[in-house]
Subunit: 440 residues, 2 copies
Amino acid sequence: MKKVDTKVLAGFMELLPEDQFSFDQMKDKIKLVYERFGFVSIDTPVIEKSEVLLAKAGGETEKQIYRFMKGKNDLSLRFDLTVPLARYVSEYFNELNFPFKRYHIGKVYRGEKSQRGRFREFYQCDIDIIGNNILDLVNDAEILSVINTVFQELNIGDFTIRINNRKLISGLLESFQKEINKNSILQIIDKIEKASKDEIEKNLLEIGLEKKSINQLINFIGIKGDNNEVIESLNKTKIQNQLFKEGVSDLTKVVKFLKSFKIPEKNYCIDLSIARGLDYYTGTVYETKLNDFPKIGSICSGGRYDDLASFYTDKKLPGVGISIGLTRLFYTLKELDIIKTSNKTSTKVIIIPYDEKEKIIANSLETANVLRQNGINTEIYLENGKLKKKMNYANKRKVPYIILVGKENDEDKLTLKKMDSGEQIFLTINEILEKLMIQQ
Amino acid sequence: MKKVDTKVLAGFMELLPEDQFSFDQMKDKIKLVYERFGFVSIDTPVIEKSEVLLAKAGGETEKQIYRFMKGKNDLSLRFDLTVPLARYVSEYFNELNFPFKRYHIGKVYRGEKSQRGRFREFYQCDIDIIGNNILDLVNDAEILSVINTVFQELNIGDFTIRINNRKLISGLLESFQKEINKNSILQIIDKIEKASKDEIEKNLLEIGLEKKSINQLINFIGIKGDNNEVIESLNKTKIQNQLFKEGVSDLTKVVKFLKSFKIPEKNYCIDLSIARGLDYYTGTVYETKLNDFPKIGSICSGGRYDDLASFYTDKKLPGVGISIGLTRLFYTLKELDIIKTSNKTSTKVIIIPYDEKEKIIANSLETANVLRQNGINTEIYLENGKLKKKMNYANKRKVPYIILVGKENDEDKLTLKKMDSGEQIFLTINEILEKLMIQQ
């Protein structure tokens, strides 16, 4: 019989159990940090009505979306977790408590051109704080505090969270008086790290910005220094624009709150060049980079927006949030070989019956019982075969311990083998339990 | 502006945060039990090539599947986790260790007719043990041990796991000599609880079974008693069929292993009437019912199969596994109001600044910092407003504790309020920490 091809679709990540364990550990750590900051979990359908998902979207999103008919329903797979959040908050507005702090970890779908490190199905790990009508600026600092804790705990190297406030650049552009396409300018600025100063200037001239304005813009983005210095410079600029001034005031407040959160100063900095291409953000914006691997780009981004859900509700819902694209992050870290895990599997012990005598099998099952009842993740190798085959299996499974049952003449003694050192000791079940539980 | 309708699609479950927390807790408990038994996690794409998913399926599955074209690709959403497992094991056969014990908790999709308690998107929580060529019978007992532990820990009432062996009924039917449609008979028997004996007889006559055979069949299914009695009765039957005899021997062995696992005898029983409609199973079969709510039907089912992946590989892969349909289970338990949770949210404490003085806000942020660094899930209420509004928020969030910052003149003292009793005490941050950490 001709067999069906079992390769996974291009652009879809599928991991072997050992990598899956690393991936799950990262996902769990992120989840635990989100909960530690008081965010609550929601879970929305992967399938939504197309009119919901496409209410705002256009262009690229519409091309990439997985969209299909089922009976009379025009359906799509979600392409992010923000649009479902907007729908959720609108639908359950009266039953939710505001500020609504939710986290959502789930798969999203984008039919992008398949290329290395780009995925069509990937996990996003999102948090957002949604206010009812107003939302205090201190939340912008709290979000940064979450990012800081997540990347400290993921332990994947030094990182810098860069923040900016979109009001600054928007205000500056407003002050230019001449009618300009703000989004084109933001998109050009967003590429500042990859392009030369000359290129940026040329691009800005091309879209009709005056030479004087270009200089002002480039000078503004060029403001450098530590956080206090940047804020001092911002206060000294002579830009007479209300929005710009708000931006300076907001950024100053957020940085002050960051100090109260006692976030290590080496982990964040003001960077006036980050704009985040999306027109969606209206205040604070965040990007996060690994210091040793800046080329990866931002591994956690987000910002503040004035109104989450204007397509779905008349309520004004300002919010601030960030997203971690975990699938791509994991893939990249794996490629760079910088995922450090102490364990290779969730299993702690494999119990191996020395032979298939009824009594030894029964003793093995009982031993497993005791360990499991005490919360120790325990597998029993239950197939018949030579000891060598069994040991070989345990080696490949990369568990930290095995227990050999029935090797000793003394029925009450079991053989505990520590797999990294090869050390073997003969212990009673209670002694083993004590030893393994200390290390939980 | 006309707003887009935000109601979730019919047949899709979406929960408010409090219910979501209960749901997540059940999901996590199941996951932890699976890991405690040494199962490892896998995660496969929700989207598969249609030819993969439909290699074996037909009839109902094909009608229900979400299938669509994306570019030139004929794609479908998975309708269970077993077919993806078959593909996975076939694809990575050389890299996996056998017996391969995997768990998989994920969403699956069936475009069923929408009705109460039936979902089009739902979580399945599956475990399977897959052997390479052979798989010892003791695994069938281990699977039952997992089911037992899961439902003990979910704490949703007394339950009974019913087991049978498909070889018994298959052997019996073989012994009838006359050419018969085995699957039609199994389907009739599967309905035995809902139908009267007369109806069953009538249905069996209709499909051409002889009166003598019908009597033999009904007598066989009618064998009752405790596990030892049933096995004794089985051994006494005069049915001369090899397969039937194998069934008796297998069931006897499995029950013996169950005793070694020390599974409480009240939690399982042999029930010769359960057949599981699927022609897929070839040995042990399981069903699980809540004793107080038999009408819910089986909440955890599965069985042993000879060959997992014959459509994808030439390797012979016998296995045994079970599945919990968590979305439907949760929905049903919720309807019956039998979900017992001690907490309503993952958040343990909400910190409330007494007013908006800069010092008090800073002290609140620092207090949150300390608690979070010690692993206590802590939210800060950061909006301006009257104390009453803040307290109101904390009440609605149903956290066990709040901490009022700045109420006391003594700057080092905070007010800890236990929300269930209303008790308030004035403590230093270290005293609070000590108190809350004991209860983690």
